[in-house]
């Protein structure tokens, strides 16, 4: 039986091109291109490599407004086999928990050996959705994946990034991994895939199609509320001293004393 992989992807504003409104401090989204979140693309590439090697079947799933269709088409053009779009007004306003509930609700309807999510999205930077899905589905999870080997039975050997270095762990299917964009170089869409992408079917799933308590979705199911958004103040340039270590310690201690921190 072929391995079944589901990749969770998200459409995000390209934050490298984003600007802040100097008056309100909010993001100016107008004219900012939307892209497939880079870590998610890394996750899709990992899935496609497993497809190349083991003939795995790759499904991509996203939750978002109609516009998010673009990244599903992109996933098709890269080589995905099936695309599911969770879209319903009842999903709107979701924080990471409500998003995870919706995705987990959809995943309960699907067969999988491996679920892949990106480590985090460049717009929210929370890194919560992958781990929350694993918890909701009661699956083992390995986060911050750098590389993965498969024993061709049911065990993955994974190298995961840690703050100090890396760990090598083993996990059995079914499981969830979260992937870094640096884990691999995502392939380009191929031309035939692009030509065919818009004539392929993207399955539209509303809340009725998934297995989840509707109270846990959208704004209603989101315990996180944004209180205030503000731009971080600009720090002064500071002073540079070119001295040896001992002298440096002395200067730092004196400066801290000057400011009554010590």
């Amino acid at each position: 039986m072929n391995m079944k992989i589901i990749v969770c992807i998200k459409q995000v504003p390209d934050t490298t091109e984003i600007k802040l409104d100097p008056v309100t401090g909010t993001l100016i989204r107008d004219g900012v291109p939307s892209i497939m979140n880079p870590d998610d693309k890394g996750g899709l590439e990992l899935a496609l490599q497993l497809k190349d090697k083991y003939n795995a079947h790759v499904t991509v799933i996203t939750m978002g407004p109609m516009q998010a269709d673009d990244i599903l088409r992109e996933a098709y053009a890269m080589g995905a086999d099936r695309a599911i779009h969770l879209t319903d007004r009842k999903f709107a306003g979701a924080d990471t928990l409500a998003t995870s509930n919706a995705l987990a609700g959809a995943l309960r309807q699907l067969e999988y050996d491996l679920i892949i999510s990106g480590r985090q999205a460049i717009d929210g930077d929370t890194a919560q959705v992958g781990p929350q899905i694993a918890e909701l589905l009661d699956l083992p999870q390995v986060t911050y994946l750098e590389s993965l080997e498969f024993d061709e039975k049911n065990t993955f050997t994974i190298r995961k990034q840690t703050e100090e270095g890396y760990q090598i762990v083993q996990v059995d299917t079914p499981c969830l991994v979260s992937v870094l964009s640096s884990a691999n170089k995502a392939r380009y869409m191929n031309v035939r895939g692009i030509v065919e992408a818009h004539s392929r079917e993207v399955e539209l799933w509303g809340v009725d199609k998934i297995e989840v308590d509707h109270e846990k979705l959208g704004l209603k199911g989101s315990p996180t509320k944004v209180n205030k958004a503000f731009t971080k103040g600009v720090k002064s340039a500071g002073q540079v001293f070119e001295v040896d270590d001992y002298e440096a310690v002395e200067i730092i201690v004196n400066k801290l004393k000057e400011k009554y921190i010590l």
């Binding site: 088409r73 869409m189 031309v191 035939r192 895939g193 692009i194 030509v195 818009h198």
Partner: protein, 387 residues
Amino acid sequence: MSDSKTYIMDFSLSKQDELFLQMIREFAEKEVKPLAAEVDEQERFPVETVEKMSKIGIMGIPVPVIYGGAGGSNQLYSMAVEELSRACATTGVIVSAHTSLCIAPILENGTEEQKQKYLPKLAAGEWIGAFGLTEPNAGTDASSQQTVAVEDGDNYILNGTKIFITNAEYAHVYIIFAMTDKSKGTKGITAFIVEKGTPGFSVGKKEKKLGIRGSATCELIFENCVIPKCNLLGKVGGGFGVAMKTLDGGRIGIAAQALGIAQGAMDETVKYTKERKQFGRSIAAFQNTQFQLADMETRVQASRWLVRVAAYKKDKKLPYSVDAAMAKLYCAETAMDVTTKAVQLHGGYGYTREYPIERMMRDAKITEIYEGTSEVQRMVISAALLK
């Protein structure tokens, strides 16, 4: 009313076009641009880029899926040549000559057996294509072919020399024109498919060129070269028609190449004029710079619409030769004009190889010459007006 005046009012890009542009721009920026200076400087054919392009289907964009291609439109193909040429004109012409001058004539004139034999490997980039019409004494006057093909049982025996052949050293499949009956003039020309390694066929000296220096432009030599009759492309005596029809399509490719060169020069010049300071301000703050940039940009955008219209008509199977001639004429002259002005706006730095702009100016010149000079395009356009 001539066909060139059929108006097309939908200027929007389709979702497919947008997805394609997203891919090809990223590919050109990351894979093609970093090699452009080296490819030029070392006069090196970018084999590794061709491999990468093959992998994602750029070498077979308009080839139908049944022949192993991407099943894309001529519009997508012309966008590919434009975006590749924006980064590196050598890479643009490799794809253009391969697709427009080798794949297209097989697709349009080949037998089913020929299509099945050649198209899948060409579309996959496993084989590279080339086209041999020009000879030392037959340039614009293509009817003065000296290369001859003499019937001999089940074969034709080719003798003669072709020059200025793009992709020559790296190609596997060549579309070659030869006289099968000198007494009939253009009606005595026949097209053949010649494979690399055919006894009697060799690649001769490589040209040292002003621009597009990585594209491997060489001479082809035929000495009693035996070509089986199954490699006849089209009918005996139908070669001139094959060549002219092929060049009509090729002009869209070269127009797109010229457009890409001009756009590349615009990108560099806008960036440079904002950074370069003289008399205490950026040179972009001077009205001379602003007016020049405005004129350059307007020409580039007008060029783009001419290419789009020509490609659109080819896709819709409408007559497009005049549109292709106008696109090639205007894009080539725009590329030359824009790159020349771009060098001027760069000043002394623009004349050095520290900046890519002098390369772009050298690359631009050929677009006014090959696949029909600008003068030939004017002949095509005026002939349609005055017929």
